[in-house]
């Protein structure tokens, strides 16, 4: 089995994996970072979104070996100690989560979205969340949260 090494949330991480091990399995099973979730098997739901070298990707559709040498950020790596990332805070302020299962992927996607478009309109936010499915919130408060998180990220 190959050994894969990458930086996860600023720390070096390595483990032996099979070629077929997905990045999400590496994170959840090898590193115990269970904040990244698996909600589907067709790359649609976005519960598994993490950042690889600063870009949002679906970690269920990437092999762990493909992330060798990359810098990976997961939901566990966003907060600064007990201080939440502004996007996390915005989701809390606007009740942008209910069961919490889609939330990590939603937050990781939202941060990437705002990085590419610091002043997104409601329509742009809704399109930008196309790859993330939430069954609880009806998206209403997620959209509000992303908008507010975008403003906060500027501050």
């Amino acid at each position: 089995m190959p050994t894969v090494e990458m930086t996860v949330n600023g720390k070096r991480a390595s483990a032996q994996v099979e070629g077929r091990t997905l990045l999400v399995q590496f994170l959840r099973e090898k590193l115990g970072l269970t904040g990244t979730h698996i909600g589907c098997d067709t790359s649609q739901c976005g519960a598994c979104v993490v950042h690889v070298d600063g870009r949002a990707v679906k970690s269920c559709t990437m092999l762990a070996v493909q992330a060798a040498g990359a810098a990976v950020t997961t939901i566990e790596g966003l907060a600064d100690g007990t201080t939440l990332h502004p996007m996390q805070e915005a989701f809390r302020d606007h009740h942008g989560l209910q069961c919490g299962f889609c939330t990590p992927g939603m937050v990781m996607t939202a941060i990437d979205l705002v990085k590419n478009n610091p002043n997104p309109s409601e329509e742009q936010i809704r399109h930008g969340l196309e790859g993330n499915i939430c069954r609880c919130t009806g998206y209403h408060n997620i959209v509000k949260a992303v908008k507010s998180g975008a403003s906060a990220m500027k501050g």
């Binding site: 077929r20 976005g46 870009r55 559709t61 493909q66 060798a68 930008g128």
Partner: protein, 262 residues
């Protein structure tokens, strides 16, 4: 998925050398990895093109642009060169799948796969692009052979795609409401050589519509496109769209592509 040997070569030549037997190329993996997860393919080896720097990036070439095979959809969408030369191509890339797919999926992977519902093949055909491989150059008109079938031979790897600059081009897609793949996508391009119109989503692979091309050659207007009646014969039919509905959407999407053309 079944296990396999993973390789990450540093050059296209090294990659080609690894392509023996049941080996498969992985580019962005947006189609292949889900296929492997469903155990619908069982390659012995996976040859990842992600480590080949020469396959990445966009560059202006003559009046047109050349896009490295491993350039992601997001990179194409954001590229100032593409936006300037062929804004419709940048717009198409910016509408593929979802943001995460665009961050991983590549133009080479999409074109090599010839998925009947992929967006890029319509642009490649309508713009009369040239597919460059480690072995040769292939004209777009000779490239797409059928559903998941192309002119690529064993061991042949797309290295780049060259798009000549059109006078005007536009793309309009009607996405599958569930998967967001194209139920119908129409790319129209007007150049000195004439009007080319390519349709994706509607047939077994992307194809040119002679009816739309002649109508738009006579009058490059939305109304002219909308007036064209497309035959449903041979078009795809599934849960989400009958062949008749697809035929109708081809005209509608063509008219919208013309309206959006710039």
């Amino acid at each position: 998925m079944h296990d396999f040997q993973y390789h990450r070569p540093a050059s296209a030549a090294d990659a080609a050398a690894l392509l023996k037997g049941e080996a498969k190329v992985v580019a962005g993996g947006m189609t292949l990895i889900p296929t492997l997860k469903q155990r619908l393919a069982q390659p012995s080896d996976l040859v990842d093109l992600g480590g080949i720097a020469a396959l990445k990036g966009v560059k202006a070439e003559g009046a047109g642009i050349t896009i490295g095979a491993m350039t992601t959809h997001a990179e194409v969408a954001r590229s100032a060169d593409v936006q300037k030369a062929i804004p419709a191509l940048a717009a198409l890339a910016g509408g593929i799948g979802d943001p995460q797919v665009r961050n991983r999926g590549t133009i080479g992977g999409s074109v090599a796969n010839s998925d009947p519902a992929a967006d890029y093949p319509s642009a490649v055909l309508a713009l009369g692009a040239t597919i460059r491989t480690n072995k040769r150059e292939i004209k777009a008109d000779d490239f797409f052979k059928g559903m998941f079938e192309t002119a690529l031979q064993d061991g042949e790897i797309i290295t780049a795609i060259h798009f000549p600059k059109p006078d005007k081009a536009g793309y309009s897609k009607f996405p599958n409401p569930a998967s967001r793949y194209a139920i119908v996508g129409v790319f129209v391009a007007k150049a000195g050589s004439g009007v080319r119109v390519a349709v994706t989503g509607a047939g077994p692979c992307a194809f040119r519509s002679k009816e739309l091309e002649s109508a738009l050659a006579a009058s490059f207007t939305s109304d002219a496109a909308k007036a064209v009646k497309i035959s449903a014969s041979g078009l795809n039919s599934d849960l989400h769209a009958t062949a008749a509905y697809r035929a109708h959407l081809v005209s509608v999407m063509a008219s919208r592509a013309v309206a959006a053309a710039s």
